[in-house]
């Protein structure tokens, strides 16, 4: 079976620092793939390259057979990749449902129309997405006063608007209470399974990763050091070294700064 996403020899250097070094991996259809690694391992750099925010120094990113390198985030989105951010990004001046409507208007290429009232457009569709993430009862609230966990759910709803084939989620549970983490991740897993969406996500919380990922990639200092099932990763001595044993990891980081 052809992979949804294929990353080949992806590298990024900042000056002399190799933030990401020749990383290769694939995302299969319907797969929940976790990208983990300690702080500074290159996860976010990797993500930003996949979404077009950063230009790779070298390497290719194939999505359904098409190279994404050099494309703008908005074009990559239109190909069918959705994303959520580590630090939530929503439209603070709008209501919750309008945030979703905005994405729908963009999806239906209506953002240049000046005649209709925007708040009436795709309202029922938007409400469905909010229902999916459990925000329907807050649809008319002002986005700026939403709780952090709800903002994360809202981002998920926005990311689902264009029926993506692949979802990139940068730390979907960062900054949440432990109980909420589990429920948001379970929600995500349910939705993507139902809609057959593949997911690539980064995460620091190992309970979340081990509980939901189908497969795990481990990144350390820009290099992919492991790629395997949950059990394989759990018992991989190199990964344990990075996460538990490696006193030298922090020393070298200090020396570098």
């Amino acid at each position: 079976m052809n992979p949804i996403l294929e990353v080949r020899d992806l590298s990024k250097s900042f000056g002399g620092l190799k933030a990401v070094n020749a990383v290769n991996f694939k995302v299969a259809e319907g797969e929940l793939l976790a990208l983990i690694g300690p702080n500074g391992a290159g996860k976010s750099t990797c993500f930003n390259m996949l979404m077009g925010q950063l230009k790779p120094s070298s390497g290719e990113v194939y999505f359904l057979g098409e190279n994404l390198v050099g494309k703008f985030p908005r074009d990559i989105w239109r190909k069918g990749i959705g994303r959520t951010f580590q630090i939530t990004a929503t439209y603070a001046s709008m209501t919750v449902i309008e945030n979703v409507q905005m994405a729908l208007m963009s999806f239906h290429k209506r953002i240049y129309s000046m005649l209709p009232y925007a708040h009436k457009m795709y309202k029922s569709e938007a409400l469905e997405f909010l229902q999916m993430v459990g925000l329907a009862d807050q649809a008319e609230r002002h986005c700026a006063i939403l709780a952090y966990g709800d903002l994360k759910r809202l981002e998920l709803a926005i990311a689902l608007c264009h029926n993506p084939t692949l979802l990139l989620m940068d730390e979907p549970t960062a900054g949440m209470a432990p109980t909420e983490r589990e429920s948001v991740m379970q929600l995500t897993a349910d939705i993507v399974t139902e809609k057959n969406i593949s997911v690539l996500f980064t995460e620091h919380d190992m309970d979340v990763v081990f509980g939901h990922a189908h497969r795990i990639l481990v990144l350390n200092r820009g290099e992919l050091i492991a790629n395997g099932s949950v059990d394989e990763i759990r018992n991989n001595p190199m990964v344990q070294e990075v996460y538990l044993g490696g006193g030298n990891l922090f020393e070298s980081e200090e020396a570098a700064s």
């Binding site: 951010f85 709008m94 000046m114 009232y117």
Partner: protein, 620 residues
Amino acid sequence: MGLFVAQLLTGLANAATLFLVASGLSLIFGVTRIVNFAHGSFYMLGAFIGYSLMQVLPGMFGFWVSVLLAGLAVGVIGVIVEILVLRPVYKAPELFQLVATFGVILVIQDLALLTWGADDVLGPRAPGLKGIVRVLGEPVPKYDLALIAITPFILFGLWYLIAKTRLGILVRAATQDREMVGALGVNQAWLFTGVFFLGATLAGLGGAIQLPKGGADLLMDFNILAAIFVVVVIGGMGSLPGAYVAAALISILNVFGVTYLPQSTLVLMFVVMAVVLMIKPYGLFGREEVAGEHGQVGEPERPIKPAGIAVRLLVAFGIFLLALLPWFGSDFAQVLTADVIIFCLFAASLHFILGLGGLVSFGHAAFFGGGAYVAALLVSYLQTPMEVAFLLAPIGAGFAAFIIGWLCMRLTGVYFAMLTLAFAQLIWSLVYQWGEFTGGDDGLVDIWPAAWLNGTTPYYYFTLFFGIGGILILRHVAHSPFGYALRASRDSARQAEATGINTKRIQWAAFTFAGALAGLSGALFVFSKGSVFPTELEIGRSFDALIVIFLGGVKTLSGAVVGGASLEYAKDFLTRFEYWRLTLGLIIIFVVIVAPEGISGTMRKMAERVGIIRGREGDS
């Protein structure tokens, strides 16, 4: 060759003043993030105070002491302005403070008029430096050579202050991260005051030092304003060597321009600026701004909804009353109200990009005056029928906005504002200096409406229809998908770009659209007055619109309209008095201090507090 060198030297001498004033502006902006429009006024005060001091302090010693004292006196005035006017509004939304500084300009203008009278003052020659020196056979004033010699020392002194002293470290730290400096225990209020003192002193010195060359007059403040903005932008915001290089560049070009291209002197500076920014968007020595540095201050804006039935009825009733005006109002009332409507449309078009798009333009007059000039030129040269010219004016203005928008869109924040100002000035200077085509200072006259609109009342209805119509269109578009996409681009460009919205293109389209509507108001204006002059393209025009938006309240269109109407009526009333600027300036400053969220925002807050309108949930 001799002439060339002599001109080079004159240019370098002129650069001294420009550098002093511009570096002060740059310092103030860097630390306080206040775009100090009153900086030109400090410069003017420096010149006048220096002049008065030189009358009582004789001799070479007296001259230089006067220069220094004038600088210090202006520094003290700067401190007073900072403490009384700006300190109460630091917490207000970004750029709101510039309205306060505009009020200061008006107050200082009238105070200078009261103190020194309306006549231009000829500066005294510097004792001991009166003669000339022959350089390669060409005469060069000794004073010029003295200025050239002094400036590097000033540059070095300032550089030393900023780079090596504790105060300098604080200033640089505050330039990069105000909050952090505050969190580290530095008393920000006094740091700001100190920087204001320094900046104002520099401006005052600049004014005093140029006395033997240029004297002092009441137009100095606005005349230097555009030039110092250009210098700061070309040099790079916050860079002292940049300010010096840019000041020298501009001054030298100016001297050569006067000799070789006398028609282009005003334009030249802005062309240079545009070229530099095309190549280096953050100026010669500037660095890219850290994203998020200009994060919105104050609470986030609220969701908007189309007006409910009650508000619609109220607006309809208001329009109905306006339509009745010819039955009970005089001709004068109709003309005044038409002026108000035209101005409101102009302000509303700026509000569209400023309020919804977060794009602060300092040069919106380019499209108001641009529309007026398009119509006037068509009528004057091609005998275009009024109806056609009226339709082509917004299209022409929109086209200008399309081009200028494309050139400015690569920049953000204050750089964007400066670039729009520069292009507006470019258009102004083109119109002003290309006399044989545009009429120059004499303007274009005899631009009257078609026969069926002749007379006050028909044209009043015409203005009512298109003016109110334009405002309603702006309002409707704000609620359309396009308006939402514009707000989305402002709220979170990251999310917008990640969901398929080309934010820059949306903003560009909005800029063009707003320009076209400003052009419509310009067209209404030119046919109501029968003439157009370069003043309609001036900085002052742009500022008028900015001020009413900030005064009325950035967050709502009604704020722009209410503010516009208030300012026009207030001006009409106040200009009957001799010192109207002083009064208007004080009123503006008063409103800024009392109502830092603008008139409509503050009224809303008060209404919520007493329970007339329901507050936003979660408000504490």
